[in-house]
Amino acid sequence: MCKVSKFLLKFCGIVLLLNVGLFLVFFFDLDGKLLYRVVEPFLKRHYDNMDRKDPVKTPYDMEKFPKYKYDD
């Protein structure tokens, strides 16, 4: 078998395997299960523990900017 045929056969095999693998992920909702049970709880913990600025401590300076009135 020439090199080109071997390469094509190998390529088709890899594509087929990739398709079968992805189809299994799709059909058994493995993406959803991973996201719901692993990724989201991990991210939630991260967001819950994040240091955040307390915006309530920002002074509400109402005179800081002009009124932006253009009706004169």
């Binding site: 992805l22 189809f23 799709f26 059909f27 058994f28 909702d29 993406d31 959803g32 299960k33 996201l35 719901y36 990724v39 989201e40 991210l43 939630k44 991260h46 967001y47 955040r52 600025k53 307390d54 915006p55 309530v56 920002t58 509400y60 300076d61 800081k64 900017f65 002009p66 932006y68 009135k69 253009y70 009706d71």
Partner: protein, 541 residues
């Protein structure tokens, strides 16, 4: 196995199981895990539709979520940094494909394909907005105010994107503050928004106003809004609750801010004149802040595209109203329309999706394909929908054969904009601005709430799904008027109580139970798929 059983098994494999229980039913409820509603395994829709879903929806959208980031982001690393920094980003972006699953459950053939194209456009528009946020966000760029920051116009999500077309040719981008952090999250992952509602109440704000206004304030309280623009524009949409939000935003944004009013009594010609003047003042504010002049060419170019999208929609409505061949399901119709009309023409995704859907629709018309063959009732949904259960109409079709053809949100911006002169454009712009979401036929739309009857006739509907937003004081005030009219006109209608984004007030299960009760006790009908009658989805996205 008997020959008959083998034949049925082969038929089910090739075409998918039939819809109704009488035909041996597909029992969709049994495919899902209790509480989380994750699939034990995804639905087998027959060879053709399963492969379509696998390649053209699941695979295609995962792939395009990545290519969209590359397309719209100045640096894809910023997207990752944004995901790490913002809760609404991480929790929303990941379950997107499961948002498709919920909306497209049980769909087959043309209904599956057409509805999915609407979803695709919405995902693309969302990614564009996320990238606009992160390209400009000083928090992701060591406090630096870069070029994208200086070219971003930040506005409240209910300030229509149409207003900002004149600056788009000069490279400015409109970013609606809450459309992604609040609105989209509720649909995709209903858990996220609860953090923001609770945050608003944690600083002592009352819990009884509209939870939308609370959540929009809450994203600021939790310091979860990108710092992406040197200015902001707010408005009072939908009600006085939003005025409260806008005051908090003025406080927390702490930058030049223009408050653009949205009149409640919008039918008054004098009010319209006032509104036109206010819009012009807003444009002057933008000119002053950006140093870039109003461009008529930029405005006209995009208004023409917007008008094209509107004409597309009218074509679709014509088919939806007069035939059984309209292929888009209730949730895909509603979300595509409210998203596209509010965000405006900021890219080519809306028109591309619309072209694809029209092609599918005309195929249905030509070949007389009914994409929803189990329709028992043609439903119009009125008032504001539960964001955490926008896919209720997919469930209602699968379980009861209720086909939601159209809804109030889709019908709000039912107009073209004139581009023949500045004066005409401005007048139409004021109308469009005043016909805002939750305004034209809801809060403030006192002369328009009963347009329901006209649209019922136009879309040939025989049933009304009446949303009942329990924390909307405006619409609560007209509850009794609708009750009276339903009785007087002998219209079949069921009420659907909810609290807009907050799934804790009225659960999805309670909503389903009310519809089940109506369908059994009033309509005396049997469910098409009994496995969908009662299930626990309390922990689902």
């Amino acid at each position: 196995m008997a020959k008959k059983d083998i034949k049925k098994a082969l038929r089910d494999f090739w075409y998918g199981k039939p819809h109704s229980a009488e035909e041996g039913g597909r029992r969709l409820g049994e495919l899902l895990e209790d509480k989380t509603q994750l699939y034990k395994h995804r639905e087998w829709r027959g060879v053709k539709d399963t492969l379509y879903y696998f390649y053209m929806i699941w695979g295609y959208n995962y792939l395009h979520m990545v290519t969209d980031i590359i397309k719209y982001s100045n640096n894809p690393i910023d997207f990752l940094k944004g995901t790490w920094r913002y809760r609404w980003m991480g929790q929303t972006y990941l379950p997107v494909i499961h948002w498709f699953d919920r909306g497209l459950q049980g769909m087959r053939g043309e209904a599956l394909a057409a509805s999915a194209w609407h979803y695709r456009a919405m995902v693309s528009a969302s990614i564009q907005q996320m990238c606009n946020f992160f390209n400009a966000d000083t928090r992701l760029h060591h406090g630096k105010e870069n070029n994208a920051y200086r070219h971003t116009i930040l506005a409240k999500e209910t300030t229509c994107g149409t207003l900002f077309y004149p600056w788009m040719d000069a490279g400015y981008r409109y970013v609606p503050i809450e459309m992604i952090p609040y609105f989209v999250t509720c649909h995709v992952n209903s858990h996220t928004v609860l953090n923001y509602i609770d945050a608003a109440q944690s600083i002592g704000l009352p819990g009884d106003p509209c939870p939308m206004c609370q959540a929009e304030a809450g994203i600021y309280v939790l310091d979860d809004v990108p710092d992406c623009s040197p200015m902001a524009i707010t408005c009072n949409e939908a009600c006085d609750g939003s005025v409260g939000t806008a005051i908090l935003q003025d406080w927390f944004i702490n930058k030049p801010l223009f408050a653009l009013p949205l009149p409640m009594q919008f039918d008054d010609p004098l009010v319209k004149k006032y509104c036109m003047k206010e819009i012009e003042e807003c444009w002057k504010f933008i000119e002053e802040q950006t140093g870039s002049p109003f461009s008529w060419e930029s405005m006209v170019k995009r208004l023409e595209l917007q008008n094209r999208l509107q004409r597309d929609e009218w074509e679709k409505w014509e088919v939806a109203g007069k035939t059984d061949y309209y292929p888009v399901n209730g949730v895909a119709q509603a979300l595509f329309r409210i998203f596209s009309t509010q965000y405006g023409i900021q890219g080519d995704f809306w028109l591309e999706a619309s072209e694809k859907v029209k092609k599918i629709m005309y195929k249905c018309v030509e070949k007389k394909i009914n994409p929803f063959p189990q329709t028992r009732h043609r439903v119009i949904a009125w008032s504001c929908a539960p964001l955490y259960y926008s896919n209720w109409c997919t469930w209602a079709y699968n379980c009861w054969g209720l086909n939601t053809l159209i809804n109030m949100d889709s019908l709000m911006f039912d107009m073209e904009m004139r581009t023949d002169s500045y004066e005409n454009m401005l007048e139409d712009m004021a109308t469009y601005h005043m016909w805002a979401p939750m305004r034209r036929m809801a809060v403030g739309g006192m002369h328009h709430i009963f347009e329901l009857w006209e649209y019922m006739e136009k879309f040939n509907c025989d049933m009304v799904a009446m949303y009942d937003q329990l924390q909307c004081k405006g619409m609560q005030g007209v509850h009794g008027l609708f009750e009276d009219e339903f009785r007087r006109r002998d219209i079949k209608a069921f009420w659907m109580p909810h609290a807009l984004p907050d799934c804790r007030t009225v659960s999805r299960a309670e909503i389903r139970s009310l519809i089940n009760d109506y369908m059994t006790t009033v309509m005396h009908e049997e469910p098409l798929d009994p496995s969908l009658l009662d299930f626990d989805d309390s922990m689902t996205w």
